[in-house]
């Protein structure tokens, strides 16, 4: 059933009415005699918002964390009394701020925290850890600026590779930064940069992400159970907010690894700031280690720019943001008989974030995201390919916090997407799979936060129009529920259920472990949009302020998963077939944090299946057991060390039935090729029934930060695969050669900041 355009307009009209009512405070307050505090926490040295800070009203033992904009709101505070709020954050001096709230008023408390000097040796211990008793955050991992700075650099520090250490997140090896969440393909992960979709978030054949960690302020990663405000993907959401730039002073930094050189400029503008980052590869020597010692004439770059403006004399409580991002990869062969390839992302967005005098804030955004990928065969036998995607999105989100602490979020997203895809398949059949359409989604979400020990997040996302199918969208209504019940002070039970939909897909060949070209298309009309129903339940245990244990189980079914038709031999055969999927598992995450030591251990027990045309098989990323152990130690005086050990039980592979001599020919003018032109070719068994040997690897990293004259310097030395484990990547199908993943590999990076 489709929601008609008329109904959609009526729905929008109702939203506006409701918002108007809220704006004029016509909705009766849940409780009288209470007030609210609200504020933004920033870094005093540069004005950068600090996400996920602890904010605690000591007398009431009532607290909150700042969101990705550094914003916090605490309501239901008894009015006309004196309180002290403590703002604390790892690596910063805590601040205690006295305040008084007035009845039915919002008191603004904006705080600038000062970082602890390097010379003090260790980071400051955060005061009391805030446990948001009823936070509905199952499946959510938050990664702060400090976490990113502590990330081991390796060959190239990479946020995607950091995600792979989380329980429930799989990779297929050292060579790829692609990640697979809870049994779903990598093209079912949504990557948002300042709210804008990045369609191809990879550099260098998928080895690294396009996101330079230096430009990141904060990250939220949903492995599932995400709210109605997100849509368009079945599996996970990676929501990245970049830095605003230094509001106090101009600064620059430069750093270099064995692979790239990068720079960052930032500084103030009147009532705002800007930041520019750039990264360029300059050597491909280290890439040989990833490519079985093969040289690749590839170069890549990425540029980002963000400007923000917040002038209370213009509009009080407003913040305007212009953000832009460009990335490009070029594989240029000098030989005219070898093909060239290039890929690029281009993002441009404008966002208006507005705090109002009431506990309402909203943001309105318009953005464009473009992706293009090309294969120019030149004079080679490669097949030409061309993929273009343009995504123009208009979105609005409104959030209202009631005095009862309940929250209402409503919003709409209008997304116009056009794609072009011209390619030939392996049997020489040329196809144009491009199409275009407009997707209108609206959502409403209500968070019941009024009870201290119980939280509920109930929402629905409605697809008013469908990009993909003319035969109706079975997932036009996507209800989502997220529950938390704190059964004991230290133990919270959590659960979620939701329906998710995806109307875009990549033409990904499951048989490729390194893939150069993964074009995006709207799911063709002859298929239904892909859908998923997800259940998860778990327990969060905070034994002490320093020790926590999270346990989550999940069960997920997937329908109408577009899967490349390997057996297309005629133009009439479909390019894509519908598959179904099922995955389930348990995830354990243990954290111990006692400065200067921190230890994290994660374990995942999982199963994933895919069913295509009645044939059940394990996807390539299905690993039964995964363990990740990370030890970090702050030695003081700027020295920081970490060790990371990863274990994955063997990934599926297709066993061989043997070889046969296959007839190859290029020129039938020469002698009859049937006599002698043969090369060995593997006969494959049933798909993915075999298992590769287990994978494990130990990495060590040591970082020294120091001041040299007027410069802040950081040297990072890392050793990848310390004990040189021969982790198998694949067998070459023609020669039977075993290809291993990264060997023992020492690397280093140098960063200088002015």
């Amino acid at each position: 059933m489709q929601v008609s355009y008329k109904n959609f307009i009526a729905f929008l009209f109702k939203i506006i009415i409701v918002l108007t009512i809220i704006q004029f405070d016509l909705i009766p307050a849940y409780a009288q005699g209470v007030g609210t505090i609200r504020g933004i926490v920033t870094d005093s040295t540069n004005g950068e918002p600090l996400a996920f800070c602890n904010v605690l009203i000591n007398k009431l033992n009532l607290g909150a964390s700042t969101d990705m904009h550094g914003l916090f709101t605490i309501s239901s505070i008894p009015a006309n009394k004196h309180y002290t709020v403590t703002i604390s954050y790892v690596g910063y001096k805590s601040q205690l701020i006295p305040f008084v709230v007035n009845r039915n008023k919002i008191s603004e408390i904006n705080v600038a925290l000062s970082p602890v000097s390097l010379k003090l040796g260790t980071v400051e211990t955060v005061g009391k850890k805030i446990i948001e008793k009823n936070a509905t955050d199952i499946g959510l991992q938050r990664i702060s600026l400090k976490d990113i700075e502590m990330t081991p650099k390796g060959v190239e520090s990479d946020i995607f590779r950091s995600l792979q250490s989380l329980p429930g997140v799989q990779s297929t090896g050292d060579v790829s930064a692609r990640y697979y969440v809870r049994g779903s393909s990598s093209n079912e992960n949504l990557v948002l940069l300042n709210g804008i979709t990045i369609y191809n978030p990879f550099h260098a054949f998928g080895m690294f992400s396009v996101i330079d960690p230096d430009m990141i302020n904060s990250v939220e990663f949903y492995k599932g159970g995400y709210g109605a405000e997100f849509g368009g993907r079945l599996s996970s959401i990676l929501d990245i907010i970049t830095k605003d730039g230094n509001k106090n002073d101009y600064s620059a930094s430069a750093s270099s690894s064995f692979l790239t050189a990068k720079t960052l400029f930032e500084g103030p503008i009147p009532h705002g700031s800007f930041i520019f980052t750039g990264r360029q590869s300059y050597s491909t020597e280290i890439l040989k280690k990833f490519l079985n010692n093969q040289s690749a004439p590839i170069s890549f770059y990425d540029l980002s720019f963000k400007l923000n403006y917040s002038n209370p004399d213009f509009i009080k409580g407003s913040k305007f943001i212009v953000t832009s991002f460009i990335s490009g990869d070029n594989l240029n062969n000098n030989n005219p008989f070898l093909e060239n390839m290039n890929w690029s992302n281009k993002l441009l967005g404008f966002d208006w974030f507005q705090l109002t005098d009431s506990p309402l804030y909203f943001d309105l955004g318009v953005s464009w995201s473009g992706f293009s990928g090309n294969v120019d065969p030149k004079l080679s036998s490669a097949k030409p390919k061309n993929n273009q995607l343009d995504d123009i999105t208009l979105k609005m989100n409104f959030n209202y916090v009631y005095e009862s602490k309940d929250e209402l979020s409503i919003g709409a997203e209008i997304k116009n997407i056009s794609t072009l895809l011209i390619l030939q398949n392996s049997f020489g059949v040329e196809t144009n799979l491009g199409s275009s359409g407009t997707n209108i989604n609206v959502y409403a979400k209500y968070k019941f936060m009024r009870y201290d020990n119980f939280g509920a997040d109930v929402g629905v996302r409605l697809a008013a129009t469908s990009l993909a199918s003319t035969n109706g969208n079975p997932y036009y209504a996507q209800p989502r529920v997220n529950l938390t019940y704190r059964i004991f002070p230290a133990v919270a039970l959590k659960a979620s259920w939701g329906i998710y939909e995806q109307e875009l897909t990549t033409l990904s060949d499951e048989n490729e472990v390194i893939s150069l070209f993964e074009p995006w298309i709207i799911i063709p009309n002859y298929l239904k949009p892909a859908g998923s129903i997800q259940y998860s339940a778990g327990m969060t245990t905070d034994f002490t302020n320093k020790i926590s244990l999270d346990i989550e189980g999940y069960y997920k079914t997937m329908q109408n998963i577009p899967t490349l038709n390997d057996n297309k031999v005629s133009p009439n055969d479909p390019d894509l077939l519908e598959a179904t999927g099922e995955s389930y598992g348990w995830e354990f995450l243990f954290r111990y944090n006692n400065d200067p030591l921190s230890f994290t251990a994660s374990y995942t027990l999982s199963w994933a299946y895919k069913n295509l045309n009645g044939w059940l098989y394990y996807p390539r990323f299905d690993s039964r057991n995964s363990i990740d152990l990370t030890l970090e130690y702050n030695f003081g005086n700027g020295w920081f060390g970490s060790a990371n050990w990863v274990y994955n039980s063997g990934l599926p592979f297709t066993q061989s039935l043997g070889f046969y001599n296959k007839l190859y020919f290029q020129d039938l003018y020469e002698n009859n090729p049937v006599f002698e032109n043969y090369l060995p070719f593997q006969i494959l068994s049933d798909k993915d029934l075999g298992r590769l040997p287990d994978y494990h690897r130990l990495d060590l990293s040591l970082t020294k930060s120091f001041n040299l004259f007027f410069m802040k310097c950081q040297i990072d030395a890392s050793i990848i695969n310390v004990y040189n484990r021969a982790n198998i990547f694949y067998f070459k199908r023609d020669t039977g050669e075993r290809v291993n993943m990264l060997p023992f590999l020492p690397t280093a990076t140098l960063k200088v900041q002015i």
Partner: protein
Amino acid sequence: MKRILYIIAIPVLFFYSCSNSLNPYAPARPRYILNGIIRNDTSFQVVTITESYRPSNFNPTPDTEDVSIKGAEVNIWYNDTLYALRDSSINRIDTSRYTSKVNFYYCNNLKPGPNADIEIQALLPNGLLLSSVIRTPDVENDFFDPASVTVFDPTQISQVYVGWKDLGNVYYAPKISIIYYQKGDTSQKEISVPLNYVNQNGNLVPNYPQPTKINFFNIDLSTINQVMSSIAGSDKNKSDFTVSKMMVDLIVYDSNLSTYFSSLQQSIDGFTVQLDASDYSNITGGFGIFGSYYKVSYRIDITRAYINSFGYN
């Protein structure tokens, strides 16, 4: 701290000692492969039959044991006539892997016409039957585009265009050559004409036509000039060379052979790593290809004035 180190060290040592052995083979019986390309430019048709093998170290290249199947009963049906193939063998040209003779089945009295069905059946000594049915390309008499160049006169045209009928999703392999004679040698000589010359690091490299689905080609005058110049090369006695004509040979693959050929082109770049390649075969009961091609020729005359401009006769 010590406890933490123990927590890490114990599993590291445990897993470091894990076995790393891997058997890439699944249990299987042998598979059989039939290959044959029926052609219209000869009555001598050849088919080979082999079986699969499993090298012990998973590297097939050093495996030199002959895998051909002898003693099969191979028959071809064409135009309601049965052609029984006989087995034979010849010496191998490339002995880098196999040193034994090449075993094959043949008949020397089958020259198929266009748009005709051909069926093959091979009964193996173990009773297994391999079979396939194909249709030869529909190449009629007026196959070439009437707009194609018939006389190359550089004063009138700046390029050579030759086109032909589009048979759909099939491959065409054109070969262009200039026919000439050299004084004192009665044998006909030919020199291949590329589509163009490509600059590669300062050197002009000829770009010869490859099998394509495009049903025409164009060659610029500059390319033909270069080929014409190279006929005599450094020989100063240009008048010793007599240029006769330009010939276009065109091989048209049938639909099965086209699909098979296309599937061979899967290594599209040097970096994509594809584990499980899709494999096309039209052999019922086994692997391999049974296909056909049709070869036709087209003549282009060259004006005497143009030939003489190079000093040739």
